[in-house]
């Protein structure tokens, strides 16, 4: 291996990529945290991301408007969230199975629409980098943190926002209560179903946005199965982060850093098999889940449909 492969330029490059790559993880995992905090595991995140990614890509391709693309991705995510809530909250179906179903639906739908409407892989002009005045000019630091596109900034802003929402608002309190003890919330007149619909839909809208950030801010293209399981890593990140936005941030950064490192090593032609390199984030997922089992903080009613009147 080349001795001076890790020059300052390379390190800066890796860190810049790490920040960029954290974007879809953050949107998707913070969104999933909302759903799970209310007691619903949504394993369909990856499928929602794929549909969101395609929607944003296609709208941008047709209209040239990335903002419109992101908006449509959010709406599409919302619709898929409604579907997930209907199945798991109203019909009380097994959440894991409905989530897998939703994933396969999203995978199939996005591939089909891509073949029908686009056909070949092509790029779009995605979100442009916006250099933050002053901060963006700081050497090294500026390049790493303050020369990104809007979705990247938005994803990082989402972390404190989500914390604030969960900890400081009446809605956040209801979401936490419904996830921990739905019968208690119900006995105080809180509609468990309504809160779960809200949380799952909010999470799914964010998953749609995560997809949009992937196809119109990170790689600026769409292909079949663009996410390659990223949505599942996002679900794992929620466990890893102990259902706390800050924990999710730490996890997302860890994973995106490993990912960025792996990408750069491939680009620089380091002597690692690319298959092994690509496996790295997934191996890390498993390791992280083994070592970071936060059973204590897990919403007690996670994965349990609520029925009134059982004591």
């Amino acid at each position: 291996m080349n001795e001076d492969i890790l020059t300052l330029a390379v390190v800066t490059g890796i860190l810049t990529s790490a920040i960029r790559l954290a974007t879809p993880y953050l949107f998707a995992a913070v969104g999933e945290a909302f759903a799970q905090t209310s007691g619903v595991v949504n394993l369909g995140v990856d499928g929602i991301m794929l549909v969101g990614a395609f929607a944003a890509f296609y709208v941008t391709l047709q209209t040239g408007n990335v903002w419109l693309g992101a908006l449509v991705a959010i709406l599409v995510g919302l619709l898929m969230g409604l579907l997930m809530s209907f199945i798991s909250v109203t019909l009380k179906a097994e959440q894991g199975i409905s989530g897998i179903g939703l994933y396969m639906f999203g995978l199939g739908l996005s591939s089909l629409l891509f073949k029908l409407l686009v056909g070949t892989v092509q790029t779009v002009e995605g979100f442009r980098a916006v250099k933050i005045p002053l901060l963006g000019d700081i050497p090294v630091i500026g390049a790493i943190f303050f020369q990104h596109s809007i979705p990247v900034y938005a994803a990082f802003l989402l972390v404190p926002l989500a914390w604030w929402f969960l900890e400081k608002t009446t809605w956040g309190l209801k979401i936490k209560a419904v996830g921990q003890n739905p019968a208690a919330a119900d006995s105080l007149g809180v509609s468990v179903d309504k809160v779960r619909y809200f949380s799952v839909c909010l999470g799914s809208a964010l998953a749609g946005l995560a997809g949009a950030s992937l196809s119109t801010a990170l790689v600026n293209l769409f292909q079949e199965n663009l996410t390659a399981g990223l949505g599942f890593i996002a679900v794992a990140l929620v466990y890893f982060g102990g259902w706390k936005p800050v924990g999710i941030l730490a996890g997302a950064l860890l994973f995106s850093a490993v990912n960025a490192f792996q990408l750069w090593m491939q680009v620089l032609g380091a002597n690692i098999s690319s298959d092994v390199a690509v496996m790295l984030p997934y191996l890390l997922t498993i390791a992280a889940l083994v070592f970071a089992t936060n059973r204590v903080r897990q919403p007690a009613a996670l994965n349990k449909p609520f029925e009134r009147g059982e004591n």
Binding site: L173, A177, Q180, N181, V190, S191
Partner: protein, 511 residues
């Protein structure tokens, strides 16, 4: 729905008329009439499964009556959900508390209410109001504490504050005293009296008749879903109440002394940690002889729960030894303990003793799934199991629609009878019984007590852990009093007066 922060609502009178509620296989309420008045304590009595909780859950909007009417101040009302009942001024303290353990007291109180700074939480404001209520009604609570840190008594105070905070005029208390120590019961009664003098109407459910006599103005008795009528509490005696509830007389037991045998269960220097990282058992020494009931009394939280768990093998022992008939079982697995002849009736029967989703029959055979008369190689012998289940249901008069009913649909007392049946049918050499009659009705309590005495006569060594002093004194041959993780002393049956036990429970050594 977010409810507005309400003022105290005044309800003069609530009437439930001809209420009928059916569940698959049972009529839980059959044309029940009940009238609750402001300023009164209305006791609701009945055996386990008589339909008390079901009736009250309809008043609180958790179930819809199949037939009948609910009138608030003479106006008919339909409650679609608890939100409607709360708005109408009804509050309920549930048999199993409805609190979110990971949230603080203030957060639990504020849940579902509109805040003064919507959408922001305004916990400071909430805490202030909690403190006002807590002073006005003598309910000591710490608004910033987390629920999981609180004792059962404290949690109950939070539940009452929750109802008062919502301006409830009528408050239902479903077996509020079942989990309280005698001292806590006294405190609760002071609060309840203050509430009635403020014009609240209360429904009080309890299986302890002396409590009912002490606090109630009216008494309504339910039997098998039907009302046996309402009477002013002043006019009825204990025996009359029992007769209305059970349909026969239940006399207090007077156990005959029996010959005790060798030491069976030998506990020496037992140490263990508690849940909150403090040492819960600090060197416990006890010997239980064959054919003896040793009662362990004490204010809850002095290590009784941990002692039971150590003996059952559910908690790590950090020091000392446990011998069963000379065999060291200190570190034995659950199976080894069972094989050595030990049975265990847990205090948290829903958590440690039974599986909610499983049927009556499945729960009855939870322990005998390995080798027993009910297996055929690796297969279960279903015909024999079914026959045995029918037998047990009959013997222990367990009220269940069928053997296939999941036990989560049974009333609390019936689940306890089921566990009792399972553990006793194993003919144990040593039996650990933790709060065996908590929440159990009079008839079933008598039945369980008789079974315990029967086991004693068969030569079983029984360790009875209970916070019910009457139970301890009726059954025990000797009484050990526990205080801060140690035994204060051991009293013989004659020495064990309420006064002496009470002093030792408070940490004052016997002289």
């Amino acid at each position: 729905m977010t409810l507005p922060e309400p003022k105290q609502k005044h309800i003069q009178r609530i009437e439930m008329r001809d209420i009928v509620k059916r569940f698959p296989g049972v009529v839980a309420n059959n044309k029940v009439n009940l009238q609750i008045n402001a300023g009164e304590v209305h006791a609701l009595l009945g055996e386990n499964g008589a339909g008390k909780s079901t009736l009250m859950r309809q008043l609180y909007g958790l179930y819809r009556p199949d037939e009948g009417q609910i009138l608030v101040n003479d106006k008919p009302q339909v409650f679609h959900s608890p939100a409607d009942a709360i708005l109408a001024g009804i509050g309920m303290i549930h048999q199993h508390f409805m609190l979110v353990p990971t949230l603080s007291v203030a957060e639990n109180v504020a849940l579902g209410l509109q805040s003064s700074h919507e959408p922001l939480l305004d916990l400071q404001n909430v805490s202030q109001r909690i403190e006002k209520l807590s002073q006005a009604y003598g309910l000591k609570v710490e608004p910033d504490a987390y629920i999981w840190q609180l004792s059962v008594g404290e949690q109950q105070r939070v539940e009452i504050i929750k109802a008062l905070y919502r301006g409830a005029g009528i408050i239902i208390l479903d077996e509020p005293t079942a989990v309280l120590t005698p001292q806590e019961v006294n405190d609760l009664f002071v609060t309840l009296k203050r509430m009635t003098s403020e014009g609240h109407g209360l429904v009080f459910i309890s299986h302890k008749l002396h409590e009912v006599m002490a606090i109630s103005d009216q008494v309504t008795v339910l039997r098998d879903g039907q009302s046996m009528g309402t009477r002013p509490a002043k006019g009825v005696t204990r025996d009359e109440m029992v007769k209305m509830m059970v349909g026969r007389e239940v006399k207090p037991l007077a156990p005959q002394p029996v010959q005790t045998g060798e030491v069976c269960l030998q506990i020496s220097g037992l140490r263990a940690a508690g849940d909150r990282e403090t040492e819960a058992l600090r060197g416990v020494d006890l010997n239980v002889h064959a054919g003896e009931i040793l009662g362990v009394a004490g204010v809850s939280g002095n290590g009784q729960r941990e002692l039971a768990q150590c003996l059952a093998g559910l908690r790590k022992v950090t020091g000392g030894r446990i011998l069963l008939n000379g065999q060291d079982i200190t570190q034995a697995s659950l199976q080894e303990r069972m094989a050595a002849g030990q049975s265990y009736i847990p205090e948290e029967r829903m958590r440690d003793g039974a599986i909610r989703e499983f049927s009556v029959q499945e729960n009855l055979f939870l322990r005998d799934h390995a080798a027993s008369a009910f297996t055929n190689g690796i297969f279960l012998h279903f015909a024999r199991m079914a026959a045995r289940t029918r037998e047990v249901i009959q013997q222990y008069s367990i009220k269940a629609p069928s053997a296939e009913t999941p036990i989560k649909n049974l009333s609390g007392g019936n689940i306890q009878k089921l566990i009792m049946a399972r553990e006793l049918s194993r003919q144990p050499k040593a039996l650990i019984a933790a709060q065996p009659t908590r929440g159990v009705d009079i008839g079933a309590t008598e039945y369980i007590h008789q079974r315990l005495l029967e086991q004693r006569a068969n030569g079983t060594a029984i360790l009875l852990i209970s916070e019910d002093l009457d139970e301890i004194r009726t059954l025990s041959d000797r009484v050990a009093v526990m205080y801060e993780g140690q035994m204060m002393g051991i009293l013989s049956r004659d020495e064990a007066s309420v006064e002496t036990i009470g002093l030792m429970m408070a940490g004052v050594a016997a002289t």
